[in-house]
Symmetry: C2
Subunit: 338 residues, 2 copies
């Protein structure tokens, strides 16, 4: 049995090329059927060219428009009624596919998914999660990093449960350690939101949350101390963009300093293999992009710079997400805390 996954062919910065290559690679490796959505006249010739006569379960689904990175999310969702995102998500809503992958405009993808798929029972706000690499090698799920600003304690409790279910079912961590992002470990540390949320999460410990470790700090996102970190979407978005900024600064300085002397140019040459390994370990794309949790369906939003490998991984993760029935687990879990 193949799992049907919809892929927005026009999402990434270099789309549809990485999408077509990623779809082909995914179909060769995993039991998936990929529905490539976008302008048929652009996609079909490229697909045929890459397939070179190979027969793979890839279907082209026509959509006349697409949403670009520069489009305003809210406006484009309303105006582009035949966008590849919208057409693709409709296939999931109609049960013709079980998961959706895009490397496109994050805001537009979230808004379209909420509108087309709808939210699960018991979910007040779907949350965007990101999967961070850590020192110990185990991934850390952080949510919300979308734009759920001014969340209330109930929102954070829902995020915690959704994050736990994702970590269990997709990342394979049986009892994920769940932390609340704050500014100190003691229970008294934090702002009004976290101080109100902490006792609610403690009350769920053991029953609904298997392993709640209390307040955690920014540095705990990367040291392997926890598997799921919960925060308001404003704070999460600042943290994730700060992470991008630091990573860019570090690699920029590294490049400059290595260029500065001949000795270190030689050094850099010899270390090339090590650097490649280094970059791979820091690369988010290995984890397949950001899952949108709380909508009716499996939805993965990749980075605009996604390449073939990133698309391949996103398809794999969407398939696991759908297979494990994460959405049903979320509904069941949230119904128990009502």
């Amino acid at each position: 049995m193949l799992t049907d996954i919809v892929l927005d062919a026009m999402g990434s910065d270099k789309g549809p090329d990485p999408e077509i290559r990623g779809a082909i690679a995914a179909c060769r490796q995993f039991p998936v059927r990929v529905h490539l959505v976008g302008p048929e006249n652009m996609i079909r010739p490229l697909l045929e060219e890459h397939l070179r006569g190979e027969r793979l379960p890839i279907h082209v689904v026509h959509a006349s428009e697409w949403i670009s990175m520069d489009d305003k999310a809210a406006a484009s969702v309303r105006s582009k009624k035949d966008s590849s995102m919208r057409v693709g998500l409709k296939l999931v809503r109609e049960g013709k596919a079980r998961g959706f992958v895009t490397a496109g405009n994050t805001g537009a993808a979230m808004a379209t998914a909420k509108m087309v798929l709808g939210t699960l029972d018991g979910v007040d706000r779907p949350a965007l999660a990101t999967i961070l690499p850590t020192q110990t090698g185990s991934p850390c799920v952080m949510l919300d990093v979308g734009a759920n600003v001014d969340s209330d304690p109930q929102n954070l409790v829902q995020f915690a449960l959704m994050g736990q279910i994702y970590a269990q079912n997709v990342l394979g961590i049986p009892k994920p350690r769940v932390g609340l992002l704050s500014i100190g470990e003691e229970d008294s540390k934090g702002n009004a939101l976290t101080r109100e949320t902490l006792p609610l999460l403690r009350a769920l410990e053991g029953e609904q949350i298997y392993h709640f470790i209390g307040n955690v700090e920014g540095r705990d996102l990367f040291n392997g101390r926890c598997d799921v970190v919960v925060c308001d979407g404003f704070v999460g978005n600042v943290a994730i963009k700060t992470t991008e900024g630091v990573a860019k600064l570090v690699s920029e300085i590294l490049k400059q300093t290595l260029k500065a002397t001949i000795t270190s140019q030689v050094g850099a040459l010899l270390s090339r293999k090590a650097f490649k390994n280094f970059k791979r370990r820091l690369d988010y794309s290995e984890y397949g992009g950001a899952p949108l949790l709380g909508v009716r369906g499996a939805c993965i939003i990749g980075h605009g710079s996604s390449n073939e490998i990133a698309i391949l991984n996103a398809i794999r993760v969407a398939s696991q997400f759908a297979q494990a029935d994460v959405a049903r687990h979320i509904e069941a879990s949230l119904s128990r805390i009502k």
Copy 2:
């Protein structure tokens, strides 16, 4: 004329050794008189040993106690009445010195400074600023990174003015570009706090804030786009600890990957000079620690891991802070927006 600076001799993790060395180095390089505060029987012998008969303007001021990193801030400020921080800050309050430097417990230093020095007229909450390195090499002042949680728009406006004055008078940037930390550049992006603060800051543009660039994002902390970034203390603290976490992860992975192959061991050896340069450029201690803005006096809080160079730089910055009369400028600026 020498500028009198008080140095908490017992602040850093390895105190009083780095403090004594740093004080000696500072007195050799800058026109400062350093008041070293701590248990006299611990400090004097070490100081004599390091001075080897050299005559420098360093005074030892006795304090029988000190606050350690493990002490709870609020409790230790109350109970340790003869702590080196408290005795040292009293010298500033009494006009016997113009600036205070500690590499000790940040929470305790902030609480003691607020209590002993008091806040400036017009300042509702003093703010802790941090100086970040950027890709362009110019520093970026971010505040608050202390613990002013649940700030209101007026607090953020005061932070903006204080940060601007620090950037002008201590970092020597005539018209600092001031940004408001948010989750998107458009004015509509942000949470309730930033959306309320943005128009207040825009209204001060030109008159009180020379160059307001609107909303900025986490990545703009490190790309040199702005000189001053304003945020609530919860968000700032998360951002700064996330930065520490990413930096640690990156250097850990780099170390591991370089160790993994012999070729790269050789490479690493050859690149050593470059790495040293790299580390120095990322090192915060060059900027001398975190200034506490809004109290009556110049107060610099360094990292617990401060070495001699970090202490030297902190003394230099405290002296500039005092010389430039940052506190008086802050009062004057805030009185104009009443």
